[in-house]
Assembly symmetry: none
Homo-oligomer: 199 residues x 4
DNA sequence: AACTAAGCGAGACGGTACGTCCCGTCTTGAT
DNA sequence: ATCAAGACGGGACGTACCGTCTCGCTTAGTT
């Protein structure tokens, strides 16, 4: 089957995403309007809808782009590796925090994306898969540390990771507390060392 | 300051919140329409707007009401107390999960509320305060356990609590994984016992 | 039947009408808001509604007050008397012209009052009666001039007056053309002298 | 300039104006609701607002349409021509009289339009232009009669026309007196023949 | 002096419509 | 088949006033 008709203009994708990102960072999710993106990008709305079936889809694409492909390093020091990884996640979240609303404490955009994922089955599936992939790397990291004896043999890796990542999201979305390297270190310490008294 | 003018009709608040809750649980955040709530409640839109200046404000009020006043028990067994408390939080989140979107895994409504808190300074401040209050109780619980020697003397109570609560929110909003008593127990175990190998 | 209860405060009437007039002249009919008048007058809305059952009624009262009680002089010179009388009417209309809309050519307020008279049977009846009274004076003036031989014996006094007064209203409401003493003189000349060629 | 984008659907204009006219004639100006017109016309409110930026604009368009394009005949008999023309104007006004308010004597709708013209600069300009155009025809008619010797050489055509047209509007809007062919004849007689005694 | 009746300021209430915003779909003619 | 342009149906939002109502207080005349 040969491709027929006029080929898609890839520059449009680029322009649209760039402008959409600018709008979203400047005015937040609500300030991201398809009409305005189209106009500013000199593109037709139909052109946008051909690529992203929904404003939500476009927004997800925009955010996906903003988030660095957090590579995960394995130095053999699980504590340092975790801190570094958490810091990368935190950096991405803090970037969201700045979106719209002149740097409020809470990252509304993250909330909007959660909502978008709930509204559209495909977005939900997609983002869950992406998170699963990403988290699998972290779980593998933990697993290797366990195998080589740094961590307890019977640990609950999933719970451990949820605890640390979750705490970041919790602060960013709910309590509005800061999320930085210092906090990442506290988290890792608390999670790894345990909190019971030593017997 | 003396009260003047016709007093507000409290039954309106009651009726409106009840109907708004029903709408929101049945059809989700987007399905909560001020016009419809007003009509069904036999109230004028202006009456709603006198109480809640925005749909977002109403939605927050509705959810605040849905969440049981999670009392926190202190039995002296920190482990059990934490599990119980987390389970209560999980129950509230699971209730949100059911809202609209035919029981999707992710709680879109929670995301919407986070977004609302970011859109409106006052909502943000309010919800952060409420969370702070609620969390203070949990922190006090932990503190008492520390004092009586159940927990390490130098623990980071805040990090500890963020970890557990955050994990719940993370699952509900991000990964879509289940959140139940079993998971609460895993969380508490992981957080309290630590994950390093014993030296 | 003796008066019972607290007597009405006449100062309220005064204050309200003054403020309503100011609002109407400044911002036009639409800018006359019962809520605002009440607030500025330090009166309750109920107090206004006790006196004027409708915004329209208040507006009519305001305008009635603005229009000077055009006395009509009979000097024996019908031409001069008519010009003077028309000029008085024109002055009243020009005052309306200034209301709201930064001195537009057309007197919107007069139109609003016509509309109000159509909306409320009582206002309509009242204003028609007032006009009838006022016009009766002019008709009597014309009649006296006819009797003493200044005007044709078989003239149609009503048509004559309608022509002159009507032309003023027509300009003020419809064409927006100016209405001043010079125009009053042209009107009287045209109406009295006739326009056919002399045979 | 090439036409681009989807062309406007002229049938919408047609349908909307028809329905709006029906509503206005049946229930008067206040009974003309954009929401209702849109619904009955099966059009979106935005579609209406794209064409008429305001309810006032729509109302003016509706009325403009109701008024027959009064052609003006020139038979050489100025008296008859004027009577015929005035009768046409009267017919249009009487049609307005019936609008809403169960056939009141006063044409509230005409008043509303005058008010609308004062509220919106563009409407005012437009209607004044339309009246100017229409009146120019009548003035030309008068002028031709003057030239051919039917009327006085030094007559004031504008004043003459204002008198006759104005009298009609005056009755319709102010005194509520009837406006029919008989009255048109009285007007023309009075205006043409003059009212002074013959010397 | 107590009672009754109306007036009054304040402000909540039901109601109606407005004009706006934005979404996602469509129709057109040109590439 | 894609594109720019832009009209369209649809749905909700938040606003503005209207005219009515309920309060508690004030100001009289009546008993």
């Amino acid at each position: 089957m040969v491709s027929r008709g006029r080929p898609r203009d890839m520059q449009v994708d680029e322009r649209v995403l760039r402008i959409a990102a600018a709008l979203m960072l400047e005015r937040g999710y609500a300030g991201l309007s398809i009409d305005e993106v189209a106009e500013q990008a000199g593109a037709a709305k139909t052109t946008l809808y051909r690529r992203w079936p929904t404003k939500d889809h476009l927004a997800v694409a925009v955010v996906a782009r903003l988030q660095a492909d957090d590579e995960i390093a394995d130095t053999g020091d699980i504590r340092a590796d975790l801190v570094n990884y958490l810091e990368k996640i935190a950096a991405g979240l803090n970037r969201m925090r700045a979106a719209g609303h002149r740097q409020g404490p809470s990252a509304g955009t993250v909330g909007e994306l959660v909502a978008a994922a709930a509204r559209h089955e495909d977005i939900g599936r997609l983002t869950r898969e992406q998170y699963a992939e990403r988290n699998a790397l972290a779980l593998a990291l933990i697993e290797r540390a366990r195998v080589r004896g740094e961590l307890r043999a019977d640990l609950d890796a999933e719970a451990l990771f949820d605890q640390m990542a979750g705490a970041l999201y919790y602060r960013v979305m709910i309590t509005g507390a800061p999320v930085d390297r210092a906090y990442a270190e506290r988290l890792v310490s608390s999670a790894l060392e345990g909190n019971l008294t030593c017997h």
